[in-house]
């Protein structure tokens, strides 16, 4: 895994959170909350629900900082996983979700790199993923992005795409296999 942007600084902040340093959590919040909120908004659909989830996510980050393994150096991936899991749990628990319009559906097929240009290695991992996504069929790519970025299940994707459930399942499964093979030949 390529190094994350600001990886060392985020690692240090998490270590300080593990020692109950609340100022470190505030710095962590300033640096990462806008990115996490963008992720939560996509999954939960409304700002109120996304900000509630953001609050929950940071409380969890604070409580679980002692379990973060600094040696692995993947602070952002760790925090994103906490935030996404919270959002997916809330969404599955039946929070209302805004339906997607046609324009948004079309947008789901795009994958733009707006990554941090100051970190060459991490930009490289963006580029690698984009290149590998481009190799998928457009159906596979669209399903994967709707599942990952929107947090939609197979059952919710099928009517949006207008394909039978079995097709959606096999597109996603094969898409994930191809991605893995492409990223790690």
């Amino acid at each position: 895994m390529a190094r994350e942007p600001d990886g060392d600084e985020l690692d240090d902040l998490l270590l300080r959170c593990a020692r109950q340093d609340a100022e470190a959590l505030q710095s962590l919040y300033r640096r990462t909350a806008p990115r996490l909120l963008a992720i939560l908004m996509r999954i939960l659909g409304t700002r109120t629900a996304a900000e509630d989830a953001l609050q929950d996510a940071f409380i969890r980050i604070w409580q679980q900082a002692g379990q973060y393994d600094r040696i692995k150096g993947r602070a952002m991936a760790w925090m994103v996983a906490i935030a996404r899991n919270r959002a997916i749990d809330l969404q599955r628990a039946g929070r209302p979700m805004v339906l997607l319009g046609a324009a948004e559906l079309a947008q789901a097929e795009q994958f733009r790199v707006e990554g941090p240009a100051d970190n060459l290695e991490f930009t490289a991992s963006h580029d690698a993923l984009r290149r590998c996504l481009e190799l998928l069929s457009s159906g596979q790519r669209q399903c994967l992005l709707l599942a990952y970025q929107r947090g939609l299940t197979h059952e919710r994707i099928a009517p949006l795409i207008g394909q039978p459930l079995g097709t959606i399942k096999s597109w996603i499964r094969r898409g994930l296999q191809s991605l893995r093979a492409c990223l790690e030949p």
Binding site: A22, L37, W62, Q63, K72, R74, M76
Partner: protein
Amino acid sequence: MNYNRPELLDRLAAEYVVGLLRYRARARFERLCDELSYALTARERWEDRLLPLSLALAPLAPGANVWPQIERAIASTSAVPQITSRPALRRWWLAAAAASLVAIALLVGKLTIWSEPAWQPVAILAPAHGAPLWRLERSADGSEINIRTLGAVTLSAAQSYELWILPSGPGNPVSLGLLPRHGKLERRLSETQRTLLLAARQVAVSIEPARGSPTGLPTGPVVIVVPIARAI
């Protein structure tokens, strides 16, 4: 599902990370990650692979009221210990239960001395020609292990030491997780790990990538093989 089939486990990890599993299946996979280091590895690798898709979204500034709410929430939880240590709590209950047993035993006059050691020795982990690096102990019922670092553990950040049970009968080594570089570490074992450890005669240590063996079996050089102490 057969979790020993790596390709199935990897598919499950991918579907978990993407968010395709239902609530129960999600919880089951999370428990699996607590028990199997390679399940956790598979999950983290998928989190890393797909992370750019999350970070590609345009950032969005949270409302001004969000941080004060977080600050209030953590201030109210700071008074209690942050990480609730369930094993410690259970040991407390065990101690309380043991104490009442002692009281009962003393009453009926059958027992005069009761000593229940908190940890029982399993092995001292030392290379064939080197100083001891860790002490491995287990709880009386074998459901938890305690690893204490004894010497200076030197290894690059890209590598780790992984502990393995060598089963007494036929079968592959089973991971007990990564060894700490300093301090001590307590770990709860799965039922499979517990049974194997209680029956095993040897444990081993191998050098693996930083996140542990990617295959679930030792992949790097085995640097330590030591017998397990038997209680008489």
